[in-house]
């Protein structure tokens, strides 16, 4: 029996994304019990499944109020944090920190010390330096996670690091009083409209700019009504923002819409029953995957290229430009949705939606349609993902093309250098704070400072210059690797010299004092 704690201090979408780890973890450790820790405001995400024994929370608003000073003593906030951590009264065997932030690293350290257990992800040592559970996390944090150009998904680092086998996530949803009425409603609708497929749709997202424009949503609803194949069920959260959006939407459509105001767990039950969802919202996307529902995500943002698919079968349709008011744009989008829902071949005449791809966990992204620039960028990401993955898995001799072998070998050397330099930096951190302050000044927000800036520049240039030709990409990657390696070696020399000088200074001071 293993007690496993999953920590995530991010938002709902991220939490649902990482809760999908429970299924492969259960497969690896069949008798385990799962626990979850988050901030108070997102802790209800952990309550949606009965696969989690207990949800713990940290009330960051309360702690931060106590920390502002004024009438509160410094000890108040510390005592409160200690109190909240004391309530986590389970002895864990494994703690998985799925948040890539310093706060989660500190909490992981405290809990790991308390339970005397193993961890996965990041933590810190007593000097505040970050410790990684494996090279996968080190690489992910240091060199790969730059400028959002993620060559492989965040969750893959946990699959690799924990040595898990991919399993389609399937969590048991905690029952509540609304589930039965939703299920009955869907069954009745199915009886009334036996030839129609019921499709849950969520048009809104946490941020307004990511929601469907009202005109587009209204046209899509009309197209659904005209179709003989579908019956749309619109899902909404309880937020005022959603209520106002759907109020406006209902005014702009001729037909009635079936609108269900759901909490997360009811939405999960609905999506599981229907087996599919269309959404523009990240939380619903990842929640759908927890119940193995197929996801069609429609994405309205300029950063479409780096959109992270949900784990498992996800289709992503990205808007090309702001011209979504045209009727043609809704027809085009509806045609894509129709093809995916009915599992028909996709048409390739998109003009308003430039990227259209399918992702599944065990394969790379399959690109169905896009413009040339998007294709170029996506292919370069796939390429980078493949090489990085093989390098970290140390699988350079397994079924890969002869062309890629020397590149992977080169990557392995570079990776080894990067990790060595990084460890040198961490080990000597306390010896010369001045040196590190240069990195700290450079970018306060970067979690681990030294390599991100360099790697960011190198990889951005690399991606920009890549094309569809594998040979050219290979050559460019090798050049970038060599440059990166040279820079790492320079930094290493700088560190060593800096440490030597520091030691000399200390010796001189000691001799003078004698």
């Amino acid at each position: 029996m293993k007690n496993i704690l999953i920590i995530n201090f991010r938002k709902f979408g991220d939490i649902f994304y990482y809760l999908s780890l429970i299924t492969p973890l259960k497969q690896k450790y069949p008798d385990s019990s799962f626990y979850f820790l988050s901030f108070k405001e997102t802790s209800k995400a952990g309550l949606i499944t009965t696969n989690i024994e207990k949800v713990f929370e940290i009330d960051r608003k309360k702690i931060c109020t106590l920390n502002i000073g004024g009438p509160f003593a410094i000890a108040h906030s510390i005592a409160e944090l200690q109190n909240e951590i004391d309530q986590i009264d389970i002895k864990f065997d494994l703690i998985i920190n799925t948040s890539h932030c310093h706060f989660s690293a500190v909490i992981t350290r405290i809990l790991v010390d308390k339970s005397g257990c193993q961890f996965d992800g990041i933590t810190i040592n007593i000097n505040g330096d970050v410790n990684f559970s494996s090279d996968w996390h080190e690489w992910f944090n240091e060199a790969v996670n730059v400028s959002n150009a993620l060559p492989f998904s965040q969750i893959e680092t946990f699959y690799k690091s924990l040595n898990l086998q991919y399993t389609s996530p399937s969590l048991d949803i905690a029952p509540n009083e609304y589930h039965q009425s939703v299920l009955t409603l869907i069954e009745n609708l199915s009886k009334e409209h036996p030839s129609k497929k019921i499709i849950p749709i969520q048009f809104t997202a946490g941020e307004n700019e990511k929601s469907f424009p009202i005109e587009l949503a209204s046209e899509i609803i009309e197209l659904f009504h005209r179709s003989n194949s579908f019956l749309p069920v619109v899902i909404s959260s309880h937020s005022n923002q959603d209520r106002s959006y759907y109020g406006n939407l209902s005014k702009s459509i001729k037909n009635d819409i079936l609108l269900l105001e759901c909490d997360f767990s009811t939405a999960a039950v609905l999506m599981k029953k229907c087996g599919i969802v269309i959404t523009s919202d990240t939380s619903i996307k990842h929640l759908a995957r927890l119940v193995s529902a197929k996801v069609i995500e429609v994405h309205f943002s300029e950063k479409y290229i780096f959109k992270m698919p949900a784990i498992g079968e996800t289709f992503i349709i990205c808007q090309k430009n702001e011209n979504t008011k045209s009727t043609k744009s809704s027809e085009e989008l509806f045609s894509a949705i129709e093809s995916i829902c009915l599992e028909r071949p996709l048409k390739r005449e998109f003009s308003f939606f430039n990227t259209y791809y399918k992702s599944s966990n065990d394969k790379l992204i399959s690109l169905y349609f896009n413009d040339e620039a998007t294709e170029k960028k996506l292919k370069s990401i796939q390429y980078s993902k493949l090489v990085t993955s093989l390098t970290l898995s140390k699988q350079s001799n397994k079924n890969i093309s002869p062309l890629a072998k020397p590149l992977i070998k080169e990557y392995q050397t570079v990776l080894s250098d990067i990790l060595t330099v990084y460890r040198t930096l961490i080990e000597n951190r306390t010896l010369d704070e001045t040196f590190f302050s240069r990195f700290l000044e450079a970018d306060q927000d970067i979690l681990i400072h030294p390599f991100k800036l360099i790697a960011k520049l190198r990889f951005l240039n690399l991606i920009r210059s890549m094309g569809a030709d594998a040979n050219i990409n290979r050559r460019l990657t090798i050049e970038a690797c060599i440059n990166l390696k040279d820079e790492m070696i320079e930094i290493k020399k700088l560190i060593i010299n800096s440490v030597k000088e520091h030691k000399k200074r200390i010796n001189r001071l000691e001799q003078n004092s004698i």
């Binding site: 938002k11 109020t65 106590l66 009438p71 003593a73 108040h76 906030s77 409160e80 004391d86």
Partner: protein
């Protein structure tokens, strides 16, 4: 206790009169704490002016107990709208609290009475309410009687000494961490707590301090 407008002897000089509506009204000396005509109606009128704020906040801090007519009005209103909120009443006069209990029995809300502002900041109940930006409801007659007391609650300045930190850890942490408290007890009581935090001699304390700093950074706009 902090100096009040009235002398201590006046604080004990409490008598009860019956209002025209037939309800009990406490007087401190000659100062009445509720309407002598209809204290329940008066409480209802006060409530009407505060309904929106009461709904908006999770917790309610009531300054002044009197005979609790205003508190009951709030509780009844919350029942009406099907809302459950935590209510804490602060009453400077412990003797009034005693008379209230003698006349009405144990109420279904919490009261902290006769505590100085510094003592309040060592009470878990008070900290858990005040740290959640509660709705602050003044019982105007009590507030007028003890203006210095109430203003001192909100302008309270912690000493941030090791002595104060020990009191806080002993009071607030459920599983009193003896290692931590013993470490603090080795230091001079007047040492600034920040010095203890920076000494790096108690690893756990250093980790908690770091945790708080990181949390504050995420809230002030850094990465979560």
């Amino acid at each position: 206790m902090t100096s009040y407008t009235l002398s201590n002897s006046s604080l004990h000089n409490i008598n009860i009169q019956i209002s025209k509506s037939g309800d009990k009204v406490p007087f401190i000396g000659t100062y009445q704490l509720h309407s002598i005509y209809d204290p329940i109606k008066e409480a209802q009128l006060n409530l009407e002016q505060n309904k929106e704020n009461i709904q908006a906040k999770e917790k309610i801090l009531i300054l002044g107990l009197g005979f609790g007519y205003h508190v009951n009005a709030i509780i009844n209103y919350l029942k009406e709208i099907g809302s459950e909120k935590s209510i804490l009443v602060i009453e400077p006069n412990e003797y009034l609290h005693k008379i209230f209990l003698d006349n009405f029995g144990v109420p279904n809300f919490e009261i902290l009475s006769g505590k100085s502002p510094s003592e309040l900041y060592l009470k878990n109940k008070f900290i858990s309410v005040i740290s959640c930006s509660p709705m602050i409801f003044k019982h105007q007659q009590t507030f007028n009687l003890y203006p210095t007391y109430f203003s001192e609650i909100f302008s309270h300045k912690p000493t941030n000494s090791v002595k104060e930190a020990i009191e806080i850890f002993e009071t607030f942490t459920k599983n009193n961490d003896l290692e931590l408290i013993n470490f603090l007890k080795q230091l001079h009581p007047q040492t600034h707590f920040m010095e203890a935090l920076n000494s790096g001699e108690n690893n756990q304390l250093t980790l908690y301090k770091r945790g708080i700093a990181e949390l504050a950074r995420t809230v002030s706009g850094g990465k979560i």
